[in-house]
Amino acid sequence: MNLLRLNHGFLLLLTVIGGLVTGCETSVNVPAPAHTPSVSLQYLLRNEPMVDQYSGSEGWLYVGASQGVFSLQDDLGRDDATVTIVDQTGQTIEEFQPVAPPTSPYYGLGRRGFYRPERKLRAQPGQTYTLRARVPGLEPVEGKLTMPFPTVVESASLTPLPSSTRAPGRTRARLSVTIQDNAATTDYYMATARLLDAQGNYGPFWGVDPDFTSPDNPIKVGGLQLTTSFSDDANIFPYADTDVNGQRFTFASNVLYDKDKCDRNQRCPAYMEVTISTLTQDAYRFLLSKRRYLDNKENPFTEPAPVYSNIQSGFGVFGGAHNVTYRIPLP
């Protein structure tokens, strides 16, 4: 048929046009969205103050100021903030003083913005606390929480496991912890563990890590599992007990620790101390969102993961954690 008189020239033309139209992608700059600098803040209120010597900056308050997304400013911390915590009667019960820019690996690599609590407040379960922060040039911010009630650790045990070639020199064991749980409420937990000497003191490098090296470690997604520490960026596992419907539940995890690592004073680990923290819902949501953010920040195949905040007109969290501990002699 005449209409099908397709010669090679026509085919070539089709090819050229096809190539042109598929290579016509263009891009132009678009203005950055407007951003108003605001206070960023992080503080976890506990039933007992953290000890600097053991916890590093984990028990401190951090205050910073946000910048536009394309700002090149490196250190966003602010050391000129005025921060207080008031109770439900409006009385100031905690104040903070800036800490000189720390320089050790524990203390944030010399960055500004850290504050130490001055009054060593011991937060009481069921009480409501309000944190207020003022930073010159920025809108004042506020966060509020009601301290959760603690759980009871009924029992805990450590069962030795064969050592792993993937974690040479480290001791492996199976940690099992049973806690009481209020079946009528949604509670939020986080579990951490560390080693102590015979006198109950914590030493450097005496952490307990979840054993991710072992393929037989039955880590249940969405279940309670061991977190390295609150300040750890990679392994934070806050847990909501929505899938537990009883008066108690048990969680278990394979763990790694350095049983034989003694310090220069020949203090050696003797106990594993397990801490079960009952969290406020805001703390749970913040920690969960922070983990999602850090897990996915470089991944183009994920949804955006904004970090949860309960700071009005600002960023970050004012969270609460009620800790209970249980010591297990090292096997």
Partner: protein
């Protein structure tokens, strides 16, 4: 915080403003005195009935409508002399002759008085077809002139009209683009009669426009329903020379496109998975080729396209936002025909004809892209220059087929099937002596549908259609790698293969009954059972690397059973008020969990005047399947998953309020409609924040999603020009679409990503000459909403800063607008005709946003800092294309 009250308030305000704009007749004015009360004096009170009516008309300006079968104009009448009201004159001359009358606007309709006692009725039934091809015609009006009684043919071209018995009955059958048919029969017994309508002229056929085929917009109870003729679709400009049904639908008010070039439909604030797309009754789960740049529907194989955006009749269900009901052609019963086209990226061919004349016919249609074939020599040469043998490319194809068999005068069977596939493939092999590296990979996705349908006329008033359908959508990813290499003196081989698939399969049995007991009722009832088989992600992996073998095999599936029953009635309560009322019961069972849903449906039309009608509708809908889709472009990796014990079915209600008007301006017909809607939705799903949308399996997808609610509301204005050399329409939509999910955006309300405040379209088709048509379309839409980081902050204990995204979907891309043009010239040949079309897509080369990305800053070699910035990527500048289509 968003509240329903706010939404309703804004909607009411919007309705009010647009209502004022549209200027309802008589708004704010005192009602005028009835023309029937006017007193006149007849100059010739003793003439014929015809002369008396003519004199009333002359003195009052009133016109009369009647059938000569009903009114004997030559009959002598005698009226008392002197001044009298029009009413008293009409009562005197008409009542005695058994006639009644009704005033509609400035026209008096004269009819036979209904009999005082229940009269015997007769039923006329049959099919209306194209006289030349035997193709059933859908939506043809069949009326008894002078009575206002009538019906329209259904999806299979069948009509049933029950009328009062009479000595003779005349029927008028009309359908734009076809010659009108009149038929007179004895009205004493039930009659079966099939109509064959000849095409009017080529010119008339070509000016068919949207919404013109079914009953007039003013008369219909249906809201949010638009019929799009295929001739219209083929007349409009096209991208890369490819006619695209779905892209034409995007030009209608209330229907939005996703982003540049996409064929996805976002109807009244809903998502694409909320559209039920039916091809001959079988659902099509992914209607997109090449990531949405083309739709799977080959216009040459399609007979009819109906889009329902709201006011859903009870016979439709299973989706929240729309029903797109597409009917394939049935195949020419009379003669062998063919048509096809050669385009820039694809060619297609359709053949149809009788298997046995007037008894059975067939149609087959195919389309395939050929960029991969044309580019193959270049790619092979390039690979060879790199020391490899192999190929890579992409193609898609569609195949449609249908058989149509008149088994008996009362029975008809249809067997139709469709399959389409997209495939990316890559193969390479590099050899060096006895060693080699070889790999092949393929990404493919496609639909397969099949439908067996049986039409039976049980009796003249009862018609049944039974469907048995199968539908499947499947994504396949396959990778196979092998190598042979030497370690010292040993020759070793490694092999790795992986295949991932996800699919959804439906098997369905459905029966629809249509019963027309009398002209005031048209009852439909029926039921359907669907067995869904979901396989959201199955992975098979085999490898033998370094002498160690391993195997992964996950092939679980989920089964869901869906059943429904419905009953609806098109009920004419009076000449002014007509309703479509119905009830649908849906149920879904999965893993012993039952989800029942009772769904009332109502649509009503009230005739204010003959040209003006008010409409209202309500529909409750539920949807038992979800589409897991990421917030970027639509990918074939988007997964269909069922409602489960944890993830509840989606539910919606839709309230509609509107008005329609038929206009005539300078001898041309127009239709104007305004519709407003409010649609609250529950149990919608989205990916959780931070969720990875790759690697979903049947076990983990529930952990990645979160449920919430949505609200969509707005108004649509639609003005169509329906006849003349220039036809087309203007559509405008003002709309809001928002979502609220407890686990997203900190539980705060956020705009849906395709929340589009303003959406406008202008479509014009002008016949420059009988064989030369110029068409153009211009669209405008508010920019899409997206989530962009706007700031960064630190929380101290991390080396990295966190990004502040602001609210979800808080950033608006630039507005979208585009002009497309098409010039088509038809040449007659001895064997048929050829149409040469030249199209310009994006004629003024607007750089419309496709997506935004962050370009990180860097320091160049000279030490200069290039700052970070957001970049907008635009896909298509001006795209000229040419296509040649033919028909014989």
């Amino acid at each position: 915080m968003f509240t329903t009250t706010n939404a309703v308030g804004r909607l009411v305000c919007f309705v009010f403003l647009l209502g004022c704009w549209a200027s309802f007749p008589g708004l704010g004015q005192a009602p005028p005195a009835s023309p029937l009360a006017r007193t006149i004096r007849l100059n010739n009170p003793t003439g014929t009935l015809g002369s008396v009516l003519a004199e009333i008309s002359q003195q009052t300006g009133l016109s009369f409508g009647y059938s000569n079968d009903v009114v004997a104009a030559a009959a002598p009448v005698r009226i008392p002399a002197g001044p009298q009201t029009v009413k008293s004159i009409l009562d005197a001359v008409l009542s005695a002759r058994g006639l009644s009358y009704t005033l509609l606007d400035q026209q008096i309709i004269i009819r036979k008085k209904p009999a005082a006692t229940k009269s015997k009725t007769i039923t006329f039934s049959g099919y209306v077809r194209d006289a030349a091809t035997g193709e059933n015609l859908i939506g043809v009006t069949v009326v008894q002139p002078g009575t206002g009684l009538g019906t329209a043919t259904n999806t299979y071209g069948f009509y049933s009209l029950t009328l009062p018995a009479a000595d003779t009955v005349r029927l008028l059958v009309s359908y734009l683009g076809y010659q009108q048919a009149q038929w007179t029969a004895s009205g004493t017994g039930n009659v079966r009669h099939d109509f064959g309508l000849p095409v009017a002229t080529n010119e008339l056929a070509a000016v068919e426009v949207v919404g013109s085929r079914e009953e007039k917009i003013v008369q219909s109870t249906r809201m949010g329903t638009i019929n799009v003729p295929i001739t219209q679709i083929k007349s409009l400009p096209r991208l890369f020379g490819e006619t695209d049904v779905l892209k034409v639908l995007q030009l209608l008010p209330g229907v939005q496109s996703g982003s540049e070039g996409q064929s996805g439909l976002y109807v009244r604030g809903g998502s694409p998975d909320q559209n039920l797309i039916l091809l001959d009754g079988a659902p099509v789960y992914n209607a997109a080729h090449l990531f949405g740049f083309f739709s799977v529907f080959n216009a040459d194989a399609i007979n009819n396209v109906d889009l329902i955006k709201g006011g859903f009749p009870a016979r439709y269900g299973g989706r929240l936002s729309s029903v797109l009901d597409i009917s394939m052609k049935e195949g020419n019963m009379q003669k062998f025909h063919g048509e096809g086209a050669i385009g820039l990226v694809a060619s297609k061919l359709t053949l149809e004809g009788p298997i046995k004349k007037d008894v059975a016919s067939f149609i087959v249609s195919g389309r395939r892209t050929y960029i991969d074939i044309l580019a193959r020599p270049i790619i092979k040469a390039q690979l060879r220059s790199e020391g490899e043998e192999g190929s890579l490319g992409y193609y898609f194809y569609d195949l449609n087929g249908k058989l149509n068999w008149k088994v008996s005068p009362r029975d008809r069977l249809y067997l139709s099937a469709y399959t389409g596939q997209d495939a990316f493939y890559s193969n390479s092999r590099r050899e060096a002596g006895e060693t080699f590296d070889q790999s092949s990979s393929e990404l493919g996705w496609g639909n397969l549908t099949a439908a067996l349908r049986w039409n039976r006329i049980i009796n003249d008033r009862l018609f049944v259609n039974t469907h048995f359908t199968y539908s499947q959508y499947q994504l396949d990813v396959g990778v196979d790698q092998s190598s042979r290499y030497r370690v010292n003196d040993e020759l070793r081989s490694d092999r790795f293969s992986l295949s991932y698939l996800s699919n959804i399969r439906d098997l369905s049995l459905k029966s629809d009954f249509e019963y027309a007991p009398n002209p005031n009722h048209y009852i439909r009832f029926g039921g359907q059972f669907i067995r869904h088989v979901f396989r959201p992600g199955a992975l098979q992996s085999n490898d033998n690397i370094g002498g160690v073998s391993s195997q992964i095999n996950t092939v679980n599936r989920q089964l869901g059973n869906e059943a429904n029953l419905y009953l609806e009635d098109d009920y004419r309560l009076s000449e002014r008020l007509k309703v479509n009322v119905g009830l649908r019961f849906n149920s879904f069972v999965i893993a012993k969990k039952l989800y029942p849903s009772l769904e009332p449906r109502l649509a009503a039309r009230y005739l204010l005047t003959e040209d003006w009608s008010l409409k209202a509708s309500y529909a409750r809908t539920s949807q038992f399947i979800h589409l897991l889709a990421n917030s970027g472009i639509g990918l074939p990796t988007d997964l269909w998953v069922p409602a489960t014990a944890r993830i509840k079915p989606q539910q919606a209600q839709q309230f509609g309020l509107g008005a329609a008007r038929a206009l005539r301006f300078k001898g041309e017909d127009y239709e104007l409609s305004f519709e407003s809607y409010y649609k609250p939705m529950r149990n919608l799903i989205e990916y959780q924040e931070g969720a990875n949308f790759l690697g979903n399996t049947e076990t983990n997808w529930e952990d990645k999603v979160t449920s919430g609610n949505g609200w969509a509301y707005g108004g649509e204005l639609f003005l169509q020009k329906k006849s003349g050399r220039t036809t087309g329409w203007i559509g405008y939509t003002l709309a809001w679409s928002t979502r609220c999910f407890p686990e997203l955006n900190q539980g705060r309300l956020f705009p849906y990503k395709y929340d589009r405040r303003h959406d406008a379209s202008l479509v014009i088709i002008h016949k420059l000459k009988d064989n030369l048509t110029l068409s153009g379309s211009w669209v405008y839409g508010t920019g899409n909403a997206t989530t962009l980081a706007q700031g960064r902050f630190s929380l101290g204990n991390s080396q990295d800063n966190y990004q502040d995204y602001g609210g979800r979907n808080n950033y608006r891309m630039a507005a979208y607008h585009r002009l497309d043009l098409d010039l088509s010239k038809t040449k007659k040949k001895k064997w048929g005709e050829v149409v040469n079309s030249f199209s310009l897509y994006n004629a003024y080369s607007r750089r419309n946003p496709y997506y935004l990305y962050l370009k990180e800053g860097k320091v160049d070699a000279a030490g200069n800092l290039e700052e970070s910035t957001y970049k907008q990527v635009s896909l298509f500048p001006i795209i000229p294309s040419f296509s040649k289509s033919f028909r014989f």
